[in-house]
Symmetry: C2
Subunit: 222 residues, 2 copies
């Protein structure tokens, strides 16, 4: 019985996700679902993207958290439209939350819309929001074994950032083991090494993201 | 409808958790549910506890992960009874998994039983396993804002380890903000600063754990 109910909920989520996806196509909005563990540096990466884009492309940000407004306050200082969703106990965002946020945020046509999901390497991977790509942020202090343990999350990622590379000298992190685990799940996924602290790798990633958006707009929008 | 089904599942979980709890009382087994983000250092803390107890108290370990046997292999080398549960997509352990593991692990009377839950700061806090205490492991690289965001997990903890203190010189971690968030949720919760890398703080925590076990045995067992 619980399986059937679960299936109904998922079907409804997927319907709304499809509506969101159509809305993004209609308005040329390139939407990124940002996934990570608690503390991997999602908000820091978002701030670096905002800083690098530097107003040249319109942006909108949705912040998902169990509780607090901390991340939204950080983004608001940059003058970007931002909205916080607190899920209460909920372990992931769902497509309806995105739909609701769209009428609040009103992203500009051709904007980049970044959705920071709840910090969780399990549940968010199985809920389609209608996004155009999933960006997974892993971080050096989490350790090189994460692709072996959180397989569905790593398999779902369209791109991976390995963040906090400035900590590599102080941590036993075997890059070879990490990449082997990542590529066993998804041989062609691009991985960007980055440090939000030093800025290393930020420009490379943002250039890739801009190219990815351009390609998507060519393929999907009028 | 989904709420009723969810309630039935939770009731069943709580029934089994109560049976587990009685079993722990009958056999004097002190059981710790170890909770943390992915990569906070759960297995490293377990290995440090095992090393410090050094065979003077019987132990048993249950390793919960979405996938892989990595952590179990690390523990097995120490000659401690250990079992791996892979949840597939499941984002937390439940009471029935603990019951099943008990017939496999057969912890000795008066043992310490450590359960490493799935790496997740959301879902595991709301599932009673029948444990005697919840130990939350936070870590410095996750940042000082976690108690403000993952409130139910921090509120559920009977003790907190702040792990990876060796990284404090390299990370903007404001201890005052962290402690303020922790104590706003639970004023009297003990917090142990620890580095599994240097060994700092390990002895203090293990001494506290042994005292806690002794007190529990005096209160609850025959």
């Amino acid at each position: 019985m619980e399986i059937k109910v679960q299936k109904n909920i998922m079907n409804r989520n997927n319907e709304i996700a499809a509506e969101n996806r159509q809305r993004f196509i209609d308005d040329g909005i390139f939407t990124v679902n940002v996934l990570a563990s608690p503390g991997a540096g999602k908000t820091s990466v978002l701030l670096k993207i905002i800083e690098t884009i530097d107003g040249k492309i319109d942006m909108a940000i949705l912040e998902g958290d169990i509780a607090s407004q901390i991340d939204t306050d950080k983004i608001r200082k940059r003058g970007i439209p931002v909205m916080q969703i607190n899920t209460g106990g909920g372990c992931h965002l769902d497509a309806n939350m995105i739909r609701v946020s769209l009428s609040e945020l009103k992203p500009a046509k051709n904007a980049i819309f970044l959705i920071e999901n709840v910090g969780n390497l399990v549940c968010p991977s199985s809920h389609d929001l209608g996004e155009n790509m999933k960006l997974l942020i892993a971080s050096v202090p989490e350790g090189h074994d994460k692709p072996y343990k959180y397989t569905s999350m790593f398999a779902a990622a369209d791109a991976i950032i390995l963040n906090k590379t400035d900590l590599l000298p102080y941590i036993d992190f075997d890059k070879e083991v990490f990449y082997k685990g990542v590529h066993a799940l998804k041989p062609d996924v691009p991985v960007f090494e980055m440090s939000c602290k030093t800025g290393d790798g930020v420009a490379d990633f943002v250039n890739w993201l801009k190219d990815k958006r351009k390609l998507w707009q060519t393929q999907h929008t009028k």
